[in-house]
């Protein structure tokens, strides 16, 4: 195999303990593991010592892109791997924006960040050098928007750069703090923001501009056009361009799969006013895209707000909304007021929190408050009530300030809070990670439980549940287990290339093998599946090394109490599927 782009193999190491950096070329690593998540799990396993404190200098962050980045459309994502401060084991988060393009154009396949700085810094990464800038003046700044603007005005080449930054949530080490990139895109899940905060990295800017060598130019252009046309003509892509991911609100609510009020219900009577259709009609101000994605699924609401104390004084904010945010900060908190929902989303974006975890944590707190497990002594006077977005905004401000023991505990996640105050049965997290917005049936929750990052995106269980609902087909537990695991294994390939999961219908094994061939990879569809399996096992090994015990999983009872699209989940069958998957994984 002769892979044509030598710069893909370059791994940039940055050691913040010494403010040193160096580059190592690792062609074998990229041949064997392709790129993205495959390469990153190897680098993380090598560099992160066993039992590392996720918020200590010994933790390691790996950013990785793949061979298709910049070369083909929809290969728009960067993978970040780290040890998660939320789950205590593997942290994996993906983001789009311009991050993937910038890393490839700067001439790196992966970036490894280790150690920790004592003073706040900005990392300025280019092809031939890394600069460390003092970020003391930005530390503690209220808004991630402002930080983005300042960095944008001072560093990098406009148009060809990525600007990643954390908010105060990351500085305060909230275990589910996010990293904002290019505004509106995020490494949202599993607390990468807190890991950056622990290393005192306020922002990372990456810039570059170069060409990539390919094996067969003519074939490349033709294949590119084929994929591009498939993308712009596909109905799935049209759906995501038109209404974006919020197109799913109404259909999921109709099949009773939209988690509502801390999953005490799977149907939200107020869904209409927080639906994709409603938000588009009343607020949609602009659609934007990640670099190299013709779809443009990012939807920005224009929210015009009057100042209450001064007549004719208005502000208009652009606020990015997506399905998961509508679920976690909308239905899960009983909020049907669209303006209130948008304000809550804006608060999350400003502070740099993961929207999903924050919403689910607040949902747990609301139920705990209603049940008397916590009182106004803990909430500092806040009467947490479903639908009351103003109080939730206040709660987020306390979460950032952490003025008492209760908010300090909330900052650790819903499971940690429930262990202290009670209510574990309705603390909706899996492996410590708060659940995503799919109560479609058993397959979805199995994915949350056993997926290597406890995300709905791991095994695609939400999709299998819905497919079975449509066809009425009944599958034995063993078959469900097989399908979920093989989907997760294939998704390791997609996130090693790295393509957006929305394009999974386009990047079939056949097309994927073809694209890789134009870059000098000589892999069959079977080879790819085998590599996917290997990457998945490597991740599981890392998880287990760091204390994840698949035989001691906590399953929140609530998921068995509230009917899904398929009715109540049969616990016995659920556990059977779990056993089958663990047997198949065989570690």
């Amino acid at each position: 195999m002769t892979i044509t782009d030598n710069l893909l193999f370059r791994v940039l190491y940055i050691d913040l303990n010494k403010f040193k950096y160096w580059v190592e070329s690792k062609p074998e690593l990229f041949e064997e593991y392709i790129g993205g998540t495959g390469v990153a799990i190897r680098l993380l396993t090598e560099e992160c010592p066993k039992n590392a404190d996720p918020l200590g200098p010994e933790n390691v962050i790996v950013f990785a892109i793949g061979p298709l980045t910049v070369v083909y459309p929809l290969a728009s994502k960067t993978v970040a791997l780290f040890k998660s401060p939320l789950t205590g084991n593997l942290g994996e988060s993906h983001a789009g924006g311009r991050s993937a393009m910038a890393i490839r154009m700067a001439g790196y396949g992966a970036i490894v960040i280790k150690g920790a700085s004592e003073v706040p810094i900005i990392l300025d990464i280019r092809r031939d050098k890394v600069e460390f800038h003092d970020a003391s003046a930005l530390w503690g700044m209220h808004s991630t928007y402002t930080v983005g603007r300042i960095v944008r005005e001072k560093f990098g080449i406009p148009g060809f750069r990525t600007i990643m930054r954390i908010g105060r949530a990351g500085e305060k080490l909230i275990r589910y703090a996010s990293v904002v990139t290019e505004t509106y895109r995020h490494f949202g899940r599993l607390g990468l923001g807190a890991v950056l905060g622990s290393k005192k990295i306020k922002a990372i800017i990456i810039t570059g501009k170069r060409n990539i060598n390919i094996a067969n130019p003519k074939e490349y252009r033709e294949l590119y056009a084929e994929i591009y046309n498939a993308a712009v003509k596909s109905p799935v892509m049209k759906k995501y361009h038109d209404l974006g991911t919020p197109a799913n609100v109404i259909p999921l609510n109709e099949i009773k799969a939209l988690p509502t009020r801390n999953l005490t219900s799977s149907y939200f009577e107020g869904a209409e006013t927080i639906s994709g259709e409603y938000l588009a009609e009343h607020f949609l101000g602009r659609r934007v895209a990640c670099a190299h994605c013709p779809v443009g699924c990012i939807h920005l609401a224009a929210l015009r707000e009057p100042y209450e104390d001064e007549p004719y004084f208005y502000k208009t904010k652009m606020i990015s909304y997506d399905y998961e945010l509508i679920y976690s900060l909308g239905s899960m908190l009983g909020i049907s007021n669209s303006q209130g929902l948008l304000k809550l989303i804006d608060e999350i974006e400003t502070e740099g929190l993961d929207a999903m975890s924050t919403g689910v944590v607040l949902a747990w707190a609301t139920e705990a408050y209603h049940k008397g497990l916590i009182s106004e002594n803990e909430t500092m006077g806040l009467k947490l009530t479903w639908g009351d977005y103003k109080t939730y905004i206040k709660a987020i401000k306390y979460l950032i300030r952490q003025p008492n023991e209760f908010y300090k505990t909330l900052a650790l996640g819903s499971e940690a809070a429930a262990k202290k105050y009670g209510g574990l049965d309705f603390a909706l997290s899996f492996g410590g990670n708060e659940m995503p917005g799919y109560h479609t049936g058993p397959a979805a929750h199995i994915g949350h439980l056993l997926g290597s990052r406890h995300s709905h995106l791991d095994m695609g269980g939400y999709s299998l549940d819905q497919k079975l609902l449509k066809t009425g087909e009944q599958l034995p537990p063993e078959e469900i287990a097989k399908r979920l695991l093989s989907e997760e294994e294939w998704r390791q390939i997609l996130s090693s290339l790295v393509v957006c999961f929305f394009a999974r219908g386009i990047y079939t094994p056949e097309i994927t093998a073809k694209t890789l061939k134009t870059l000098g990879y000589n892999l069959t569809e079977e080879d790819l599946k085998e590599i996917g399996r290997k990457i998945h096992r490597e991740k599981y090994k890392f998880k287990i090394r760091e204390g994840f015990d698949p035989h001691k999983l906590r399953i929140p009872e609530r998921i068995f109490e509230t009917p899904t699209s398929h009715g109540k989940i049969d616990k016995k069958m659920f556990l059977e599927i779990v056993e089958h998957i663990l047997k198949l994984i065989n570690i």
């Binding site: 910049v70 070369v71 083909y72 459309p73 393009m101 154009m105 928007y145 983005g148 603007r149 944008r152 406009p158 148009g159 060809f160 290019e182 505004t183 509106y184 501009k209 170069r210 060409n211 990539i212 390919i214 130019p217 003519k218 490349y220 252009r221 590119y224 591009y228 712009v232 602009r286 659609r287 934007v288 895209a289 990640c290 670099a291 190299h292 994605c293 013709p294 779809v295 443009g296 990012i298 920005l300 904010k317 652009m318």
Partner: protein
Amino acid sequence: MKKSKRLAVIDVDKCVGCLSCVFACTRRYSIPGLTKSAIEIKSAGGIERGFVVVVCRACPDPPCAKVCPTNALVKRQGGGVILNQNKCIGCGLCVDACPIGAVFWDDELNKPVICIHCGYCVDFCPHGVLALEEVEIT
């Protein structure tokens, strides 16, 4: 009447910033990347404000040609300029002369990148921001 073509930005407000046009421009040479691109998409001061398309607007009396010391840039019929690579000494005066920033730079060749108004990018603009317009040659 003789006619020529020029690349036109029809509606910048429909731009989603996907950069498909920018990648298409370098791909004219069957190369993935950015260095041969004569078009650029920037945010208009943050993505919340939308995007700016920076590309040669085919001026009838182009300032880049006026400052070229070796006559490597000559006026193109229909507006804009044509670059003669062999005459170009890579001084970069053309870059400074273009008030809209539409003369780009190829670091590998150390020469400017000039839009030839071929319209290849138009085929890869998914939302109708760009078009190839007919212009009359006067």
